[in-house]
């Protein structure tokens, strides 16, 4: 469905991605593991059209993804929910959600909102509250809800559990799994490698901009190398 072939990308003169090859098939959750600075976020930003690849090709549904800006990528149904959640602080919860479906007909909004409110009943209670006044967990729920408003065919999630309390983390992962069961494939970048591998089908391990390991989530969870480096076990 999505395929990255030999992607090189970076910022200015510094090359962060040094030839990434990865693929994601329909219905999958794929996770990217790696230390800080290994290029996980840059990979997502490159797919989303925020960072331009210097070399390599991105293929989407068997055709090259010829998009030069984030709104063009989104038009293909690829939606990134970035690290740090980026909730619009002075828009209300409802406005934050509505803006997520900006380029789609407003007639479909109420059905989508209903679905999002069943995932996150809390958001339904706070429609008029400003985004900036929500707690971190609530903001993450709003960020995922906003992404769903764009009717994504592929969801890119960057660190959805960062800085959240353990119970909320568990809830967020449950919902990611539930969204995936509805047929939306997900490319997930997570600090919390253990939880990510638990819900993922497959995973890739990045080290300084290159993929050093790729396997099923089960095998990665069992691998000594991964356990030592990313799951904090000795």
């Amino acid at each position: 469905m999505l395929r990255l072939s030999n992607i090189h990308a970076g910022y200015g003169y510094s090359e962060v991605l040094k030839g990434i090859n990865l693929e994601l098939n329909a219905g999958e959750i794929v996770t990217l593991l790696g230390a800080n600075g290994s290029g996980k976020t840059t990979t997502l930003l490159t797919i989303a059209g925020v960072v331009r690849p210097q070399a390599g090709t991105i293929t989407w549904n068997n055709a090259p993804l010829k998009a030069t800006s984030p709104d063009e990528v989104l038009a293909h149904g690829i939606c990134l929910s970035p690290e740090g959640r980026h909730i619009f602080p002075r828009l209300t919860v409802l406005e934050n959600l509505l803006i997520g479906g900006y380029r789609l007909p407003a007639s479909r909004n109420s059905a989508k909102l209903d679905r999002i409110y069943t995932y996150f009943p809390l958001l339904a209670e706070r429609t008029k509250q400003l985004g900036g006044t929500l707690s971190g967990g609530e903001q993450q729920m709003l960020a995922i809800g906003r992404a769903l408003m764009s009717e994504p065919k592929l969801l890119l999630l960057d660190e959805p559990s960062l800085g959240l309390a353990p119970q909320i983390v568990a809830r967020i992962f449950e919902i990611i799994k539930a969204i995936n069961r509805e047929g939306i494939p997900i490319l997930l970048v997570e600090q919390n490698a253990r939880e990510a591998l638990r819900i993922a089908n497959r995973g890739y391990v990045l080290v300084t901009g290159q993929i050093v390991l790729s396997d099923t989530a089960e095998n990665l969870l069992a691998s000594d190398e991964v356990r030592r480096a990313y799951l904090g076990e000795s």
Partner: protein, 305 residues
């Protein structure tokens, strides 16, 4: 010292509502790009000139059908100013968006000087007068209160300003484009990630602000009967001051700041004479900024992060 008479208050409100209208342009551009568009006063001045010339042309073509000509001329002025505002952004600011903040600022000052001198050299070195035939009909006494005359022109200006401000407020808070505009002002990266065409929204901001400035220009030239190549400088500076006083980036703040400055000016003139008015206006600005650097309704910078 007695209270100022009602005509002074009304005069101050009229002047202040015009400042507010121009200040909206400064504050919207600041809100979305974080830069001061110092050429905004010139957009206002171009609105003045366009209206006066359009009225001349329309009088020859259609005869002096007052209201229709006035509305048409205002529309032409809005379109012309909007085109200038759009071109300014395209030519002088867009390429500098990622540059140091002083670069677009300097570009804006340069543009302001170019536009002033362009009008000075090619259009008119002297003030041009607004055709009286259009303003006189509005300059009739609407009612008299306590021996003071109030005229229709003042109410037209005040009413037009308030209606436009309310319309802008509605647009920004209730429409899809308005929400996109606020979203772009708050987080440009995220705005592009939800599919908002950020460049178009920024262009729209300039177009809207410039149209409002054009209407303000039309009303000032009608009120004062003259327009000059340098009119944009002082009106622009006062409107900018109004935006800062109210809290730059804040829409109701621009209106509030405008009204306060307009009232301050006219009340100062009444008590101390017109020579004091600029001193008092800027003294108040300094005092407010010392006590409250973010302006009256501005958010703390920390809130924006």
């Amino acid at each position: 010292m007695s209270l100022p008479p009602p005509d002074i208050i009304l005069g101050g409100l009229v002047r202040g509502s015009i400042y507010g209208l121009v200040a909206l342009g400064y504050t919207m551009v600041y809100g979305i790009l974080g830069m001061i568009n110092f050429a905004h006063g010139e957009i206002f001045m171009i609105g003045m000139f366009t209206c006066v010339f359009a009225l001349g042309l329309l009088s020859t073509l259609l005869g002096t059908t007052t209201l229709i000509n006035l509305l048409l001329a205002t529309l032409v002025a809005m379109i012309f100013s909007a085109a200038f505002g759009y071109a300014n952004e395209r030519i002088a600011y867009r390429r500098l968006r990622k540059a140091h903040i002083l670069a677009p600022l300097t570009s804006a000052i340069g543009l302001s000087i170019i536009l002033q001198n362009f009008v000075f050299l090619t259009v008119s070195k002297d003030n041009i007068s607004f055709p009286r035939v259009y303003s006189d009909q509005l300059n009739k006494v609407a009612f008299t209160l306590g021996g003071v005359h109030f005229n229709y022109l003042q109410f037209t200006i005040l009413g037009t300003s308030l209606v436009l401000m309310a319309a802008l407020f509605f647009f920004i808070h209730r429409t899809r484009l308005g929400i996109a505009m606020r979203g772009t002002a708050q987080d440009q990266l995220m705005a592009s990630l939800v599919g908002i065409p950020v460049n178009k929204i920024i262009a729209l901001t300039f177009v809207l602000g410039s149209s409002l400035a054009a209407v303000a220009g039309v009303m000032v030239s009608m009120y004062q009967s003259v327009a000059g190549w340098n009119s944009g400088y002082i009106w622009g500076l006062k409107a900018f001051t109004a935006a800062v006083l109210g809290g730059i980036g804040n829409i109701p703040g621009a209106v509030l700041g405008g009204l306060i400055i307009g009232l301050t000016e006219d009340i100062t003139c009444y008590y101390f004479g017109s020579n004091w008015r600029n001193s008092v206006v800027f003294l108040i600005l300094m005092i407010v900024l010392i006590i409250r650097p973010r302006g009256l309704l501005g958010e703390r910078v920390a809130d924006k992060v």
